[in-house]
Point group: C2
Chain length 154, copies 2
């Protein structure tokens, strides 16, 4: 029960970051990386594609960069990521390179997701690292933010 | 014939960058991005994962960043990339986000490639952009560099 409460707290952080992104006109996706031994939050980011004009500036990529800098190493094997949306192929591939321990994600992304949709990247025989995956956490809230964002855009 | 000569010149540049990477103890992969209208080389990079301790610092990712900075926009739809190795899922996903026009690659990567191997990312129905793909250019030289690198590592 304590464990579950802890999980939802980090997803709440990711969702708060997603809301912050929306306030800045960015696609509302937020991410948090936590060191699973110390419990420390070592990255807390959101999508910044528009502000940076960098198509790779997804929440997960920025979080990986922050976490690597915090730890001084390219391995995030002691870390877990909480992200409000199912990662795309780029981000899932990057999380495999980073050897992340666990991925907790919010809403499924039937169009762009690459974990439980599309290429199902971690089920590919060629994948060199397969994290534990926990999908659908606070999925309704994560999806509602995205729906609201794209509705306002139209 | 002229067109073909031009293709091989840019791949030669990518291979020279791959050799430079090897000299620095980096996995030998090089990449060049060319604006297809002006013919200008707007990015020329190689793998920097070890020096930066950033698992995402693949040649293609760094090239995308350079090209976006050169153009001041996140769209690389007027650009082609020459890369000495078949892109992985992270890089192929990023090239799709960048809406790159063409991918010319050198050696196939049966273990980590995501274009003509593994998830065959651009053949997935969910992919939102499908560039033209030309694989196997100077493949022997590109593969020989990688074989030499990993032999010396052992």
């Amino acid at each position: 029960m304590t464990q579950q409460a802890k999980i939802y707290d980090f997803m709440a952080d990711a969702l708060a970051l997603a809301e912050e992104a929306m306030g800045q006109g960015e696609v509302p996706v937020g991410a948090v990386i936590v060191h699973h031994v110390t419990g420390a939050v070592i990255a807390a980011t959101h999508n910044l594609v528009e502000r940076t004009q960098d198509c790779t500036a997804h929440a997960e990529m920025l979080a990986i960069a922050q976490a690597q800098e915090a730890l001084g190493t390219k391995s995030l094997s002691a870390c877990d990521i909480w992200v409000s949306l199912e990662p795309c192929a780029m981000c899932a591939g990057a999380l495999a390179h980073a050897r992340i321990r666990r991925i907790y994600y919010g809403a499924e992304d039937k169009k762009g997701g690459a974990v439980d949709n599309g290429p199902h990247l971690f089920n590919q025989p060629t994948i060199h690292h397969r994290p534990e995956i926990y999908g659908g956490l606070s999925a309704d809230k994560a999806a509602a933010l995205l729906t609201q964002f794209f509705k306002e855009k139209r």
